[in-house]
């Protein structure tokens, strides 16, 4: 069964460093998403991406964040200058269509630890 994959599973970085989290969505999906979950808190939407541009973003997704689909298979989340409060589990998801009644398939997550 096709699945969303994410690398790395765990990333440790120093505050102020740039990190890139990688995701490989399901191959025929067209919509891509990033969510995050700070330890002990709820899963929060960050951004959605379609047709090579951001279609929706939350207030969390500020200028420190960017997303890119650099090739036909990868979808990345970049954090330019990490802060301690960026420590969280980051989930990538993909769906064939937009709008939330279409199932979003989630990856296993990347745990980001900022020291």
């Amino acid at each position: 069964e096709p699945e969303v994959t994410q690398t790395p599973s765990h990333q440790v970085t120093q505050m102020g460093q740039e990190v890139i989290l990688r995701c490989v969505p399901i191959s025929n999906h067209l919509y891509f998403y990033w969510y995050r979950q700070i330890l002990g808190q709820k899963v929060e939407f960050l951004v959605s991406f379609y047709n090579n541009e951001i279609s929706e973003k939350s207030e969390i997704f500020d200028d420190q964040f960017s997303v890119e689909r650099p090739d036909g298979s990868n979808f990345t989340l970049k954090i330019r200058s990490t802060k301690l409060e960026d420590s969280a589990m980051y989930f990538c998801a993909s769906s064939f269509r937009g709008e939330t009644y279409n199932e979003q398939f989630f990856g296993p997550g990347t745990r980001l630890t900022v020291l």
């Binding site: 699945e3 969303v4 919509y31 998403y33 969510y35 808190q41 709820k42 899963v43 929060e44 939407f45 959605s48 279609s55 929706e56 939350s58 989930f91 998801a93 937009g98 709008e99 939330t100 009644y101 199932e103 979003q104 398939f105 989630f106 990856g107 296993p108 997550g109």
Partner: protein, 113 residues
């Protein structure tokens, strides 16, 4: 304020017992409703969803959920829990005019043999 509430942070049941996990939402319109499960080290897996129609929906792994408009609730049920059901369960809502899912805080289910 608009929100998704899962009032039970942690639930413990014995294997074979019945289970009900609560979810309430606070929105003006009826949202699309979802239950996801997350096992340790795994991603979020969709258990079931409600968009319209029959208010009792069946999902995978023997789970079902009932939408009650009058109570703004979408509770998840299973008649007989298995040890492999131990996981974190998330209720989520979506709307027709947005890409994002809005999640509750989750309920951790522990199953004793």
């Amino acid at each position: 304020a608009q929100s998704v509430t899962q009032p039970d942070i942690h639930i413990t049941v014995s294997e074979g017992a019945s289970l009900e996990l609560r979810c309430n939402y606070s929105y003006g319109a009826t949202p699309y409703l979802f239950w996801y499960v997350q096992s340790p080290g795994q991603g979020l897996q969709l258990l079931l969803k409600y968009f319209s129609g029959d208010t009792l929906v069946q999902g995978i792994k023997g789970f079902e959920a009932e939408f009650k408009r009058s109570q703004s609730s979408f509770n998840l049920r299973k008649p007989s829990v298995h040890w492999s059901d131990a996981a974190e369960y998330f209720c989520a809502v979506g709307f027709y005019n947005t890409d994002k899912l809005i999640f509750g805080t989750g309920t951790r289910l522990q199953v004793f043999p």
